[in-house]
């Protein structure tokens, strides 16, 4: 908005963290998304952290119903949405009381004054009105009559009070946009697309947005404006993407690069459903989605599709994955390519459906009957879900095996800028299907190549008719076989096949010196916090390096050597130490854990403190 004449002093910041919070009905997710997209377009690096309540819409004004969306935008590269927020926009008392802890001392606190009536204050559990008692003195408090001002702004459009109040989030956006000198254009465009068919509503939202913006411009109360310059990201076409979107597009891309049609069989479950929602809109890429009657049908239908030659994928979260475990065993025995996505959430059991956790790693490793090895890889950030989805299918087809792809609620719903790749430049995934033999010699479905992968013969091919199933297979012929020696051979063969994948993997990289006092090993969504923490400590001269694992089974071939070059090993996880058990068991190293099980990602601070503590003694 180079055109605006700045009426107030402008403070330049390297990064800013803002959180919108209010009722599930207040449209906070929309507000956050708009600020996110606008900032992405403004060229900032960004990281977001939406935080939903478990209920669809708990009663108005209750703590249970508070929904939040945090976004950090910066002129430098960032890996997390920030430990604390610089500005908090709270639409009601319940939102204030549940979110204030994360506001930095002296931070900007914008509240909807109108919501602080007796009822609202009581619902939040306040004895007195926090806006009147001095409890908020430590912050730059801006109590604004958003309800009244919004109603005023939309007056004369013939909207009912309820509809008018629905525009409040646009008022809050407008104000925030002014505060951080953001353009209103992208949001105005969004309003046109979204509400085009309802001109009154569209106009109301536009007016509310502008009203909020102008309020900032005009009010004495707010002394200054902030700007965050664009980051110099690698040039390219950027778009802001969530982990679930990235996973969906990665799957579609993998299908294109491998020449298979994507078959996605799944049953809705939080926080994995958005992958399905994204894919159903991509039918034009030949995607076949199947919303099954349950998770068992989802995975078994995918196995049927895999037998037919499709790129078979199923996705769920912990409880649904538990139901798939028997069928995954069938995929292991039939040695068909299959991608199983687990967007992890808080457990055990139904647990905390809308919160994040990393506690399904051992389930992915061992949650099946018998010796049933499955490769496991994990995404480290929203955009990384795209690459990992492609990698999962590459491994599945190259080695003829089901593959576990672990994501989590934090990166699945979080967003970051992502360079839209030129699909055709991405490496091809070569998939071979045998043709019928001329010489009429019998087809051997369990013969193997140098990677111990078996041939993927498709129905419809003359001369290759064969039957597969869950009973133990005879080596080479694939016939049912109960002989003791064959069984032992096949169990070891299946294990070796997965172990051999390590030869195919890039060597594990280490951020920082190749040896030293402390090695931090992380996996999955904790990448951002760990990378940032390690970097900061090293900037202060600490002898610490970082190895972030994408490949959890098998481990990269050089992991053992890396570990041995450090005095101590720290493994931060959002669980009680699942990777730690695997590392200890495999390398007999006394790895130390930093474990958080609060349904929330690590704060960078938490990891730094642990590192410093370990470096001290």
């Amino acid at each position: 908005m180079a055109t605006t004449i700045r009426s107030k002093p402008v403070v330049e910041l390297e990064a800013a963290t803002v959180r919108f919070c209010g009722d599930s009905g207040d449209g906070m997710q929309l507000a956050g998304t708009q600020l996110t997209n606008t900032s992405a377009l403004a060229g900032n690096d960004i990281a977001t952290f939406p935080d939903f309540p478990a209920e669809i819409r708990a009663p108005r004004g209750t703590k249970a119903g508070v929904s939040g969306f945090q976004i950090r935008f910066a002129s430098t590269e960032i890996f997390t949405p920030g430990d604390q927020v610089d500005a908090l926009v709270a639409m009601n008392p319940a939102a204030l009381v549940t979110n204030l802890v994360d506001l930095v001392p002296g931070g900007i606190l914008i509240v909807n004054k109108d919501a602080f009536d007796e009822k609202g204050i009581a619902q939040a559990g306040y004895k007195t009105n926090p806006l009147d008692d001095s409890s908020l003195d430590g912050y730059q408090l801006f109590p604004i009559e958003m309800t009244r001002l919004t109603r005023l702004a939309v007056q004369g459009l013939g909207l009912g009070q309820k509809e008018s109040d629905r525009c409040r989030n646009f008022y809050a956006m407008g104000l925030t946009f002014w505060l951080y000198d953001r353009s209103l254009e992208p949001t105005l465009r969004y309003v046109d697309e979204k509400f085009g068919k309802m001109p009154a509503v569209a106009e109301a939202n536009r007016r509310a947005l502008r009203a909020g913006y102008n309020y900032g411009e005009t009010t004495e109360a707010i002394a200054s404006q902030y700007v965050v310059q664009k980051a110099d990201l690698v040039p390219g076409l950027y778009r802001n993407i969530t982990g679930n979107q990235a996973a969906a597009w990665g799957l579609v891309t993998a299908a294109q690069r491998s020449g298979c049609t994507l078959y996605f069989g799944s049953y809705p479950i939080t926080p994995a459903s958005d992958i399905l929602h994204e894919l159903v809109r991509l039918k034009n890429f030949g995607v076949r989605t199947f919303q099954a009657e349950d998770e068992i049908a989802a995975v078994t239908s995918a196995i049927g599709a895999a037998f037919g030659g499709a790129m078979a994928v199923t996705a769920s979260s912990g409880p649904g994955i538990a139901l798939k475990t028997e069928a995954i065993g069938l995929a292991v025995m039939t040695e068909l390519p299959l991608v199983i996505v687990n967007v992890q959430r808080g457990g055990p059991s139904t647990g905390l459906p809308t919160k994040t956790e990393q506690a399904d790693l051992l389930q992915a490793m061992f949650g099946r009957n018998g010796e049933c090895p499955v490769p496991v890889i994990a995404a480290r950030s929203p955009a990384d879900c795209f690459d990992v989805a492609i990698e999962a299918w590459r491994i599945a087809t190259r080695h003829m095996t089901p593959v576990f792809l672990l994501s989590d609620g934090y990166i699945a719903n979080g967003a970051e800028p992502w360079t839209v790749p030129d699909i055709d430049t991405l490496p091809q995934i070569t998939v071979k299907h045998p043709q019928g033999k001329e010489n009429g010699e019998p087809f051997l479905p369990y013969a193997r190549d140098e990677r111990l992968a078996r041939p993927w013969a498709l129905p419809g091919t003359p001369g290759l008719m064969h039957r597969i199933g869950g009973l133990e297979k005879q080596d080479i012929t694939g016939n049912v076989n109960y002989e003791p020696a064959n069984h032992e051979h096949m169990v070891n063969l299946r294990a070796r096949k997965v172990a051999l994948i390590a030869n195919d993997l890039p060597p594990q990289e280490v951020a920082g010196p190749a040896s030293g006092k402390l090695l931090v090993i992380s996996w999955g969504g904790t990448y951002g916090a760990c990378a940032t923490a390690v970097q900061k400590v090293r900037d202060q001269g600490g002898s610490v390096s970082h190895a972030h694992l994408r490949y959890l089974n098998p481990f990269p071939a050089n992991l053992g050597d890396i570990i041995r070059r450090f005095e101590k090993v720290l493994i931060p996880e959002l669980n009680r130490g699942q990777l730690r058990l695997l590392i200890r068991g495999e390398f007999l190293v006394d790895a130390i854990g930093l474990n958080k099980i609060q349904g929330k990602p690590f704060a960078v601070r938490e990891v730094i403190e642990k590192i410093q503590q370990l470096l001290k003694n």
Partner: protein, 281 residues
């Protein structure tokens, strides 16, 4: 199902795999296997375009004995496996082979949803009213009072009737036949294959080891005729050894009547395959 332009003439032998059949001597499954091998060549679909999908059970060993593509999947899930295969490869001819336990006990939900989705697959349920493979526990179709390994004092749960369940899910093709009635069975299998949509066929199958003679009344020389009625489109519902019995509607409830004795063929119910409402299908 579209038949190919020029096809080599196929024989039952073309559909037989090299695997040794491993059912008990005397098992009803042998006859069903034989009829299937007889019917398939008449459909004009080559073995490589045919896939048999099964769950777990004696009956579910079926695919191993067919020289087609096949999946011997896991217990109860065959309809779901077949659904995924059919969705991604609509041109294939997909058959589901299942048992009364596989289809109606652990697999009931998948059966229900396969039928409602009405994809063009054929589901053949081998009903021996017992768990064969696990050596004789009762199944959802075991009759009240039936003594089995798991019900030494007789079954007390009401049995499910496969066709009623299928109709409750608004199946577009249901039929029942008998392992030993090979003429009727092969006709039914052919009709099932030809129906576009999910065809559901229940086949009474004798398990001579754990539930021998369960269908004696329907197969026995002297009881057969009086206790079964072969439906034919547009024909009145007449049956009986001397074709002297019929079914007519008394008000809204069907009843069995003797022909003659003031009852003529026209009073009887006529079988109408095309009726939309399955009320009396």
């Amino acid at each position: 199902m579209s038949t190919e332009a020029v096809l080599p003439v196929l024989t039952p032998g073309d559909f037989a795999s090299d695997q040794e059949v491993r059912w008990c001597p005397g098992c009803g499954d042998y006859s069903i296997l034989a009829q299937m091998k007889k019917v398939l060549p008449t459909l004009g679909i080559p073995p490589e375009k045919t896939v048999f999908v099964s769950g777990i059970g004696c009956s579910s060993r079926f695919p191993y004995y067919m020289n087609t593509y096949g999946i011997h999947s896991i217990h109860g899930r065959a309809p779901a496996v077949a659904t995924g295969l059919k969705i991604s490869r609509p041109e294939l001819s997909v058959w589901v082979i299942t048992g009364d336990g596989d289809a109606l006990s652990i697999g009931g939900n998948h059966l229900m949803h396969a039928i409602r989705r009405n994809l063009n697959i054929n589901i053949i349920l081998f009903n021996n009213r017992i768990y064969g493979l696990t050596k004789g526990q009762y199944s959802p179709t075991s009759v009240l009072g039936q003594v089995t390994k798991s019900t030494p004092n007789g079954v007390i749960d009401n049995p499910l009737h496969p066709l009623s369940v299928a109709i409750g899910c608004e199946a577009t093709f249901v039929a029942r036949s008998l392992d030993v009635n090979i003429k009727h069975l092969s006709m039914v299998l052919k009709r099932a294959a030809e129906h576009v949509g999910t065809s559901f066929v229940e086949v009474y199958q004798n398990c001579n080891v754990f539930n021998d003679g369960a269908f004696e009344y329907a197969t026995g020389r002297d009881t057969r005729a009086d206790s079964t009625l072969e439906l034919e489109h547009g024909k009145p519902m007449i049956f009986g050894k001397s074709r002297d019995k019929g079914i007519r509607l008394n008000g809204i409830t069907p009843e069995v009547v003797e022909l003659g004795k003031g009852v003529s063929e026209d009073d009887l119910l006529f079988h109408d395959e095309k009726v939309a409402e399955p009320t009396l299908a």
